[in-house]
Every structure is written in C-alpha cells, then in structure tokens.
Symmetry: D2
C-alpha cells in the first residue's frame, strides 16, 4: 500500500529502477481537462539528468505515454495511467551487490521487510522511482490551474530551489523567485554566486568519489485560504509526509521551523491586517502560510533537508547477506548530489498535496 | 476525513475543546488483549496539566471510559471506543473572540475552511484534542508489547523528552534515557541543570504574558528491522506526518536531519557491522534507525520543533470577521509552553505509527 | 476496519448489544448544516421495537446524544459523534450460551475470526448494532436535502416497505408510496390486506417459537443522474454492499434483478425518451435507475431478501466450544421477524450510499 | 476512486475498450511468490472470446505483460503491474454513436457523471475492462494457494458455472463440480443437456439480433472459517459488491438467497455437528458458508443474475445528446450472451475478495 498517495486525488505509482517501466495511475482527476502533454514532458525533462557535470551518466529519454483516461485530448475522469519505459537499464553494474548491503542504502532494510529485493539498481527504492511522481505532479499542476480558473482565482505558483549545498547557503526572496530564474543554473539555485559555489562543492566531492547533501526551499504562492484539515490531515502534516517520502529527505520545516522554536510568542505571531477586500492577510509569515493545519492565503513556505547520496565511490565496511563482514565499493551511475534534480520532485509533491486538499475541500464545502 | 490516522491500525478521533467529550474509535486492534486500563489512565495523567507552575489552570480529571470493544477485560478485535468527558469547560472566557481572530491561531483558517467555527476554546483545533491521541497511543503501546511478545522480541521502548526550550538546549544519551528520568522534572527534561534553566525561561516568559517554543526529541529502542514501506509510506514519512499533525509542530528531523545535510556521504554513511546473530547493525546511527523508509533495527530517532504558543496575554493587532482592524487580548487558560505536555503526545503518535506498520507488515509477510 | 463505511462521507460505528453504548462517528459532513435532532430521534424511534405484538420485548429508549461536531446547532464539518446508551441490557439470559454456538448465528464464526466473542446478546454481531446506522442515516438524509437544495433540486425521497413475509407477497406502486403509508401498519407494508396476512404469518410463527423471513423493497425518487462510478464503485455495487451488510440479508436485486435475467435484451432495454427539458428519461425502468453503475435520474429501485431470524425458541442440535455435540434452546428477547424494523435500516443505508456518492461527485466534478 | 478494490490486497485497474491498454496495479501482494505467468495467461484465455459461435468477433490475443513488481520470477511485495495491450480496437464502428445514447448502456449516465465519454466501444464502461480483473484474480488465486500452504491448509477451489440462460436452468452438485467439467462446453455449463439447450437459446437470440441473460453460480470450497468482518465488511457484503460491480450484474444471492426468505427459522437454520477434529461443521449449508458475515468453513456459495446484453442489433428509440428523439441500431462486435465469458470474471472477483480478507485476518490476528 506504500505506493498510493492522496485521498480525493489518489496516485498509485509502480516500477523499479531496472524493471520494464515506471508509472502512475491517477484517480479522482476532474473530467474534461485538456491535458497539456508538452507540459508533462517538460516536467519530466527537468528531472532528467542533464548533459552537465553534476548528474549521473545514465541516459533515459523519459518519454511519457498516456495509457488510459484520455480521450480526444481530454481527461475522462477515470483512471489516468502514465508510463515511462526504462531504456538505459544496466543491471550488470550491480551484480556484485547481489549479496552485499550498501551502507545507508535500502538494501538491508528491504530484505528485512520483504525477504528479498531487486538488487539491480535499488529496485523500488531507487530515486528513479520519482519519475512517476513528477509525471503525476505535472497533472496535479494542471488540476490546480483548472480549479483556480473555475473559482476565479489566479493559478497557484509553486517554485522550489536549492537553498544550501553542503555548507554553501543563500537566502532567496520567495515572493519573486521563478522557475525560470531557478533553471538558469544547472544546480538550480537562482543566485549566480551561490550557484557557482554550490557547483564547486559538488564537483569537488565527486572528484573524491564523495557526495554532498543540502536543503531545498519551496514556496507556493496563490494558495487559497481554507486548504487542509484539522487534526491528522493538517496541510503541514501532509506536506511533511510528501516531502519526507522523497528519497534521501531527512528533515522538514514549515514556515519558521526549528528557528521559530527559539522565539517567544510575541516575536513569532503573525499579526492580521485587513487585506482591503473584506478579508485578512498577515504582516509577517512565520506560519509559512499555514495556521492550525489550514492555509491562510499567504504563501506556503517549506524547507526539506536531504542527506548526502549514500552511494560513494570509496571502499566501505559492510556485511553480506550471511552476516559476514566484508567491504563494498559501488559501481553504477549515481549523482554526487540529488538536490538539483530533486527540485522538480519537491514541486510535484507539493502540487499533489495542494490539488488533493483542494478537491477534498470542494467536495465537502462546495464552491 | 482529517480525523482518521493509520491503515491497519486506524484511529478516528472526535471532540472539541468545549464540547461534551473527546474520544477515539480504534479499528484493527488485535483481539484477546488484556487491556491495561491503568496504563491508559496513567498516560492521560501524564498529559494532564500538572499542579506545578508551568501549565494551564484548566482542571480536567480526564477519566477515560471504554464504550465498546472490550469484554471481560479483553479486546474483541472490533471498534474500541475511548471517551473522555469535558468537565471544566468554560466558554465564557471566549465570548470576546466570537468575532475576532487570534493571531497565529486556527480561528481565521477554520472559518476559511468551513465557513464557521466553534469559537469557544479553539474547538476542534484546540490542543485539548490530543487527549484522544494519548488514549489511543496507550492502546498502541500495548499492541506493540503484544506483537513483540508473540514474535519473541523485547517490547519497544519509546521515550521522548524536552531537548530545548527557547535557547536552552541539552544533549541527552538516547541509549539510556527513561520515562522515569524524564518525569523527574516538571519540564520533562531529564538533565537537572537544563531542566532548571528551561523552567526559568518558561516562568520568565509567563511573567511577561509571553510564551516559548522548543524542541522535543524521541527515541524508539527495540523496533524490529522491516517496518515501513518504500515510496510514500516510508516510516519517516508517516512519523513526520504524525509529528507535524501535533498542534504547534513546525519542524521534523529523522536521524541527522538538517545537520546531516551539511555532511559528505563518506562522513554520513552508517557502516554495517555483523551483529553476531547472523544479521547486521550499524556502527553509527545518523540514519536514525530508518534507511530507505524502512527500520533497520537500530533506535529510531527523531526531533520535533514546536513554535511558541500563539496565545499570549498581550494586546495584539488583528482583524474581525468583517475584515476590520481591531486588537485582541486573549483570556482563557493556556500553557506558556506546550513542550512538557507534548512529550506524551509525541510518544503516543510514535506508538501509533509503529503499531500500524507492524500490523501491516504481519499481514503482508506473515511471521 | 469492518466498521467503517463510505468514502467522502465516512461512517465508523461502534458498540455491542450488551456493552455500554452504540454509536457512530461521521466524517465528511458538510459544515453549517442546522442538524434536525428531532428527525434523527424520529428515525431511531422507527427502528425501536414497538409496543405491538411483532417485536422483541427489550425496551430501549434509544436517546441519541451528539458528543461532538455540532456547535450552536450547526455541523462544524469535523467528526460528528452520535451515541446511544444501552439501558435494558440483560446479559443473564445469555449465560447458558457462553460455551455453546447458536445455529446460524455469528457465535461460531466470531470465535473463528477473533478467538473470542462477547457472548452476551450477540455482541457486535447483534442487530442492535443497526441503531448506529439509523442515526447516521438520518444525518445522511439531511445531507441529501442540503445538497439538493444547493443545486436547486427536489430532495430525494427514500421509501422502503415490506414486500413479502414468508409466502405472503404484494406489489406496491413505487412511484407513489410514502413512509406515512408504510407506517400505517405495524408490519410496515402499506397494503392493508397484505399487512394483515403478514401479521398473521408472523404471529403464527412466534406462537410456535419459530421465525419468518421476507423481502424489503426500496425506492429512492429524485436521485439526480450522475451518481456512482464505473468499475468497482458502481452505485449498485455500493448499494448491494450496504444492503448485504445488514444482519440477516442474503439477497439483493437492482431493478429487474433475477427476473430480468430471464428476459431478452429487446424486452429488457429501457428506451430513452426526451424529458422535455433537454435531457432524457426512460419509458420503462427495468434498470432500476442505474445504468453502467451510474444513476440515470429515474427512481432507484432495489429489493433485499432477509432470512428468517436464527434465534428460534426450540431445542436444536449444535456443538459447544470444545467441539462436543449438545443442544441449545435460546432464551433472550428476539423478534420473530426482522422485516418491519429493517425498513428504516434499509432506508438509512440507501441514504448513506447516495450522500457519499453525491459528495464524491461534487468533489470531482464541481457543480 | 471507483477503480480501486480491496483493502489489504488492493487492486487499481485502468483502461478503456478502445484505448491503448488495460491493466491493473496490485498492492499488498505477499513478497517472494513465484508467480505462475502461464496460469495468469490461461485465466485470460478463458475470458477471451472463443472461436465458437457464442461470442463476439473481436480478436484480441490478450497477452499479459508484467511491468513491475516481479524480479527473477518472484513478487517483490511492491506494486505489481499487469498490462494487456488493445490490438483489435476498431472505433469506426462507433462513430454513429458519438451523439446518440444506446438504450440501457452507460452512454447517457457516463455523460451525466463526467460531462463527456469515450464514445468508442463503451470506453471505461465496456466489458473489456474485465480483462484487468481476470489478470488480477489470477494473482489472487496464487496468493490464496500461498496462504493456504503457509497455514497447512488445502488450497481453496473456486468454481463458477452457468446455471441458467434465459429460461433454461439446471441444478449442479456444487460439492464436486470442477473447472474442467465446466469448460467442456462452450457455454460453460457442466451438464451436457442443459449446455446444449442454453446454446440453442443463445444462437436463437443472436439470429434475431437479440440477446439473453442468465444466472451464474459459484462455489468456493476450502475457505477457512474466520474470513470476513462484522458490520460493514461482511464477507457477503464484499462478495456482493464484487459481483454487482461486474458489468450487467443485477442480482446477488448468498446461500439460500431469496428462496430462503420464504422459509421459517426452524427450516432454514444450519445445525452444527462435531467435525471430528474438535471443531464444527453444519449439516446443511443454507447459510452459503457465511454466518454473521464471517466464513464458517463450509463451502461459500453464491449466485449472480446478469441482465441480457444491452446491445441488440435492432432499431430502438432513444435520444441524442441534444435531447431530441431519434433511433439507434448499434454496430460493433458484441456477445449475444455474456454468461460464458463472465464465469472466469466471477471466479476472479471471488478470489480477490477471499485473498483480501485472508490477508486482513492474518494481519489482525496473526497465525
């Protein structure tokens, strides 16, 4: 069941790193949407390893095929199935790992859970799994645009970027940052100096057969007030789950996060001001656009911490399947840093959460 | 739907701060358990405001009543219903808030979501809601003990404590800390000096009508390897959702968290060592007991950031329901710091996640 | 999990025949509804055993209490909890059944499933469980009225009646039958002659310590076209599940049912005619208002077969918990025929299914 | 959401009659099963239109491809994806139906539900959708065999057959009937005389451009006692939902069904006898193997009524999308009777329900 996400918009993904294909079945999509397949492909292209120096050498065209749910260009409202075929699978690089557990990978735990694993390329635990998320997220973005249009609102803008790599960190203005600006640099940080420094850090680590982690920040502007639910399905709880389900994510902050925990209430509270249209806005946004688990109309702001990639090209101590001490020195094709490619994944998961909660809201309250 | 949590062990909670009662219906509980009602009551008593100087003055006895699912002391395996009656509800303190939104509270967003709200005491958004979580978590702990016993394992030990309040922070040895040690101090930090400093900080803030936030750390020792699922229901994702659904939580870390994002892979990876029983353990635990979203048998470690309580006893700018600028100065009974009372809530939610995943695992894989 | 029903409108019930209370938590209810508690109580009163000669002698006032989800008379949109306390529980009559399985009851199977059972009065398997369904169904009817009003439609009318008892059978005009007409006779058949004959049959069976079964028919008029979903959640599939989950139900028909299976397509098809408002109606209604699993705007028609009550006051062969042959002669208070009291239960379950699908539809498609 | 079925074993299907492919994603499958792909293909072949005179002329090879979840022949325990490509799609036959609603089809209701439809061949509402069910059901049968083996039981035997076509009806001994005997005759009735008469009826109807309905009976022998849950997820309720979700199904009976409703309790009750192994069996099986919604170890018996195929090759009155009266005379390729091909579909759905409930049981109670 671990491969299904969402309630009113429900995505079930499938596929292993070196299996036949990856994909997603989306249920609950509103009918009649003219699906923009170019936008979907563009989203997948953003996730693909680039031709640059920061990513894996695995080459996949990641062409998305719509197997069901679309008729004459429009969504039918029934199961929408997206498939991306694997092309450049090369299990041979993993033969040596058949009986050995890579440190800080899912090899050992997958066997503990299931009693076996697809040892080629991480199988279901591979970051390649996220291709299905990005495809589904691209649909979710179009659903958000549809819902916004139907209710006379502007389309929400979801923008993520790399805020930190290793010890390089930069503050970006979340009110104005755009995907275009983010994509100016291969590392997906919109600040030229920081981007250069991050790139330097990644290249340095790669040179030493090592890897780096970092932090991605994301903002969703134009989210209407009222998304989320009290108690367990708070918007932050669902966003947090979404982010922490991304491979290598180990931390999540909403709004002020850990830093906010050091403040006093008088310094942390966001005061309400009239918004001039009969409603309210806040003068600051330490809440990150969410109060009591429900969006308040201000930008939704979050941060995700990613650990360094576990696959380093150095010899490491480990054990084999029989429990004997051994060493491993992985081969295969791996990113020295997942952050740049995780940017569209973060955006996709945010889009899925927002579209799900918007549809839940519409169903319960109407418009 | 926002009031249901879990899949194989499913908890549905209900109740408002100043309504008739709070409670939970638990589905999926194994049958035949001799339910220890004293342990459940003890858990609720830990969450109750103490007689000390740190908590609210609201006095609730929080007696738990089992309405269904128990017969001659044993669980039937069908809906187990727990109810706690409200006794000291005093809506009069909230009359002034009927038309005014308290800053950084759920007042405004609840109206945006539902078009109305129970203005007395925060209604469903009140931290009083967590009484149902603690009652359900006490059942989950007993389920964990049952599952451990049936599979010949030691019972998992879940211990949370206050690691930081405002700027006071302390490192505690997670390998040995106990609930007894934690409960030695009203602030629920097991280190005497840190506890004293935290208490001083809280009292100082209260004196100024202000509030403080902080960080809770939690460890679950004795969690078997194999709990969690790849992709969306990673153990960290479900733990993160559980924690971020607690009122005032704004951040979550699993294992090394945000600090780990600054390390290189070679410094972050947890090397495997033979455990002497044919399996493996890791020499370090930066993974926080979870790799690839599945537990690896090492202690599960997490941290939760709580913002300062939004209700401060100072006059603040806000707007009313008509969108006019006004000010508010809350009355009512509130904690100046939720951390001490959030400790058993964090433990309860961890227990619910672990019991749910253990039951899911048993169902799919058998034992 | 067997105690939760529905997706967008989700009801979780609890309680045993001789436990403390029965009840339901309803999630997904639209907010702001002025809940008519008198209507809810009236529904429960219809299910209660009457003062007449056809029912059990157990006396329960079945007062419904709203524990949560209601504020100043309006639904909050969060968990709505309804509780009915047991008052006239008398487990003593069941002491003899502690170790003996009553034929065609749930005693044996409950132990096979759970390893234990609440032997007093059938526990969770008792028909008394349906009090929670009727309470929840009364809320569902008000949700239907709300949804109809918001979309400018007439409120759907759900009417069930006893069509057959033992071998007495009668055809009633489903286009005009009303609850008032149904309630004219204790047996809940609107035809005076048939009602008298049914009553005679029931009394005759009771006199011999025996019981009878029968058939209930139900119509829902004013259901908008478009409710239901293709594939698994066809409206008939969900209605069928709802009906077959009622204690003692063993058969279900939608529209022409088993009789329709004998017809040719040319005799069975419902031809479309212009409805004079730009849409269509059918000249006949063998489809029972559902085609391809989705409502077509015609009256939804169904029938449910109930087996005779298993508790007969005659000595019967059976086995005890040790597997030894023995005999049993039940005591306790039981209806000789469940049909009259099952009428409001059928209506309640139909209301729950329709409200759930209407909310699902609104969420996915909007209005 | 209408395309997902089951809880512990969850199947999500996709695909339209004339789209690219049909398929299913199965979640919750136990890991490590050596999947018998030949058995899966054989199940699909049983559903395919034969070379005989009773079926459609559409020719599909229905080759099943496993896209994910299988590694070196074993199930991984993660999403198992099955795909069958459409090959002989011929939308041209449906051009005339673009704007016209076929009587008693899903055309009108699909547009009412979604605002559009895939007019080619019924789209998602086509009986071709059931190819995914049969593929998933073949997996469920292998899961049942695995669960039976692990618990030292014989594998459950699920056998369905055509009991009636139009007015031809035959009683078959459910204790001994086999799939081999059923498959002796193209019409899938194991009695030679009845099979011949049924075939005659079908051919006669087809000759007149007409269609016939009928009844399928199914038995599941070797189902352990204890499957099913009280209240809403009674085994009969889930079996009923499963059956009524099959295209053209309009009626369902468990055990004695509608006939049993005419009996008295003393004539209907199944008396318990010692089974000689410390447990119980019943002397009769009017309960159809299910009491109180839970299996009792006796054969599970059910019947499903299918209406005659709606597509008749005769001119019929109908309306167009603008609400104008018109006539329609379908072309396309259609069975004159769905019963023979529905036999493996019924078996598949029974297998899915039983495997789901067995996994639920194992998870909650253990073994």
């Amino acid at each position: 069941m671990g491969s299904t996400f969402g309630r009113a918009l429900r995505v079930t993904t499938f596929g292993e790193s070196h299996g036949g294909a990856l994909g997603a079945v989306i249920e609950g999509c509103p009918p009649g949407l003219v699906l923009d397949l170019h936008a979907m492909q563009a989203a997948l292209d953003r996730r693909r390893p680039g031709a640059g120096k920061l990513g894996t050498s695995r080459r996949e065209s990641d062409r998305v095929e719509v197997l069901s749910g679309l008729f004459e260009g429009r969504t039918l409202g029934t199961s929408l199935t997206l498939v991306v075929r694997n092309q450049d699978a090369d299990p041979s690089a993993y033969e040596a790992l058949r009986d050995t557990f890579r440190p800080s990978h899912a090899d050992y735990t997958t066997e503990a859970r299931y009693g076996l694993r697809a040892w080629a390329g991480g199988g279901r635990a591979s970051a390649r799994e996220t291709v299905a998320r990005v495809a589904a997220g691209a649909v979710a973005e179009q659903i958000l645009a549809h819902l916004a249009e139907r209710s006379g609102r502007a389309t929400p803008q979801i923008v993520a970027w790399v805020e930190a790599v290793e010890r390089v960190e930069v503050a970006i203005d979340s009110a104005t940052v755009t995907r275009e600006a983010v994509d100016q640099h291969e590392v997906r940080c919109p600040d030229p100096d920081a981007a250069a420094a991050m790139e330097t850090a990644i290249v340095a680590a790669r040179r030493e057969g090592d890897t780096v982690g970092g932090v991605i920040r994301c903002v969703a502007r134009g989210v209407p007030a009222g998304l989320g639910a009290p108690v367990f399905d708070k918007l932050e709880a669902d966003l947090g789950k979404a982010m922490l389900s991304i491979p290598a994510a180990k931390g999540f902050e909403s709004g002020s996060g850990f830093a906010g925990a050091r403040l006093r209430g008088s310094a942390h509270n966001d005061l309400f001001l009239p918004d001039g249209r009969g409603g309210a806005r806040t003068d600051t946004n330490r809440s990150g656009g969410v109060q009591g688990g429900i969006s308040n109309g201000m930008p939704v702001e979050l941060r995700v911490a990613f650990k360094p990639v576990a696959t380093i090209f150095q010899e490491q101590d480990t054990v084999d399947r029989q429990g004997n001490a051994t060493t491993v020195r992985p081969r295969g094709r791996h990113d020295p840093c997942v952050l740049p490619r995780a940017v569209p994944i973060v955006e996709a998961m945010v889009a899925l959460v927002l579209a799900d909660h918007w549809l839940r809201w519409r169903g319960q309250v109407g418009e």
